[in-house]
Symmetry: C2
Amino acid sequence: MLSEFDLIKQYFDRPAGSGPQRAVLGIGDDCALLAATSGMQTAISSDMLVEGRHFFAGEDPRRLGHKSLAVNLSDLAAMGARPVGFTLALALPAAERDWLHGFSSGLFALADAHDCQLIGGDTTKGPLNICITVFGAVAPGRALRRDAAQPGDDIWISGTLGDARLALAGLRGEVALDAAAQAAAATRMHQPTPRVALGVALAEQGLARAAIDISDGLVGDLGHILARSGVGATLDVDALPAGPVLARQEQRLRRAFSAAGGDDYELCFTADAAQRERIVAAGAACGTAVTRIGRIEALAGLRLVDGAGAPLDLALAGFDHFA
Amino acid sequence: MLSEFDLIKQYFDRPAGSGPQRAVLGIGDDCALLAATSGMQTAISSDMLVEGRHFFAGEDPRRLGHKSLAVNLSDLAAMGARPVGFTLALALPAAERDWLHGFSSGLFALADAHDCQLIGGDTTKGPLNICITVFGAVAPGRALRRDAAQPGDDIWISGTLGDARLALAGLRGEVALDAAAQAAAATRMHQPTPRVALGVALAEQGLARAAIDISDGLVGDLGHILARSGVGATLDVDALPAGPVLARQEQRLRRAFSAAGGDDYELCFTADAAQRERIVAAGAACGTAVTRIGRIEALAGLRLVDGAGAPLDLALAGFDHFA
């Protein structure tokens, strides 16, 4: 049986040179120590993933390692902050080597790709629970806040929407998908891609005003921008870029799952109309599609319209963990 | 039923002016934003508390709120870092108002006492799990690291040891305690006092070299200092300051529970012998007793001795969550 200390040493405390080194002092003391990046603010986000809630029991550990960090990096992306480091607190029913190897491999592959160092954490026995707190650097005044949208702003979305929700519907038997379609859609559910490069570009080049990452569904998450900015919006539901698998489904599903699917981890952001060309260029430079999907307005509330501008009532709701 | 957003708003997102304000941007965005304290490093620690492992099912929520933050502040104390802020990730079986009121009251009472702001976090449904990540400020080169002990250093301990372990023994029926003794000892288990002022004084005045907080038992935790510093030590077990309830128990229990009890959250630190008077004065200024309990030596290993200097074999072990 692995001890707690051996577990950390073997799977999470990597020798110098084998990963990004951002901390003055990393794993192994009471605290980690980070030196401030000169003149920068620190963006901080915590996400907790619970078995049976955020992922299925028996989930592949490598995918789970990826996703656990991806949802946190997505929060940094939504602020336009560059990843620096993260802590990992992990409750495990048992210390199983295969699981730990897979989980840490998936975690570090994504961490290394974003130059983000595991600097500390905690391990304990308990029902499977993964809590990551991530740290990023952003210049003062440059962060993409939820309260910064202005009437007249375009609303943009990165990538595509709805395939993660479609995969869930397939697993639940709500929708019949063939095996290839199910597998393709499931990749979006299990392996979300945090849009870090795009978020950083939008912030550092001053292209966007407000931003949020889409975890609970576009309509619900955009609602947070509207509420905190004291504005409203009109959203063209037929302009929403459906994921490649969802795009082949009937219109009712396309509209519902792209507007309120959840687990997309795309960036929704608002920007002055004068920035359109530069935003398209920034997306191209990052290899991330960007699509204009609506407009911020002074009138409160979110108005959904179809491609012809006619009102749509999709009876959608964001995801609430206690609903 | 409380929604996730109402839960955060009602119990955790306090209006400006009702608590410490340390963040540029707090609860309600994708990330919190902290401005760097000029020239300071950020000390970061995460602890995860699991029901049935770190506390009993049905634990009083106010005490639990206190303890959840206390164990994290204790990590800052062990680095000599001043508390700045923390994130809270919380998995709850259900959103119960009484529980949330008690938990948040206990949490914020301690947070306010240490000028430490809740800046963000996450809430979800799941088996009860509390994960706090805490942030502190410490000047470069001043942090009390585990790898800094030197042969010849005195070994010191703050406060008293063993009452938390005694309370656990009483609850388990391993020791017979009367109700008053059980209640008094239990306070140490449920309401640990993080030694923040002492840790900060030791670091800022340059009085101590290495430090660690005692969560898993003195012998085991001191062992981390010895391993990382590449030194050994002799510990005078009869010099260990037993808690007031433990002090009335037989010698065997006094020795075992003060040397390896766990859940004490006292500071063990090493210091040059020339600092003795200033350390006693710093302890007095903080209202925290400090006691010399041994000496760091070049010879590897930890030697336990009695008050007469004769070797003791207590057959102790630190606490390992996966043992």
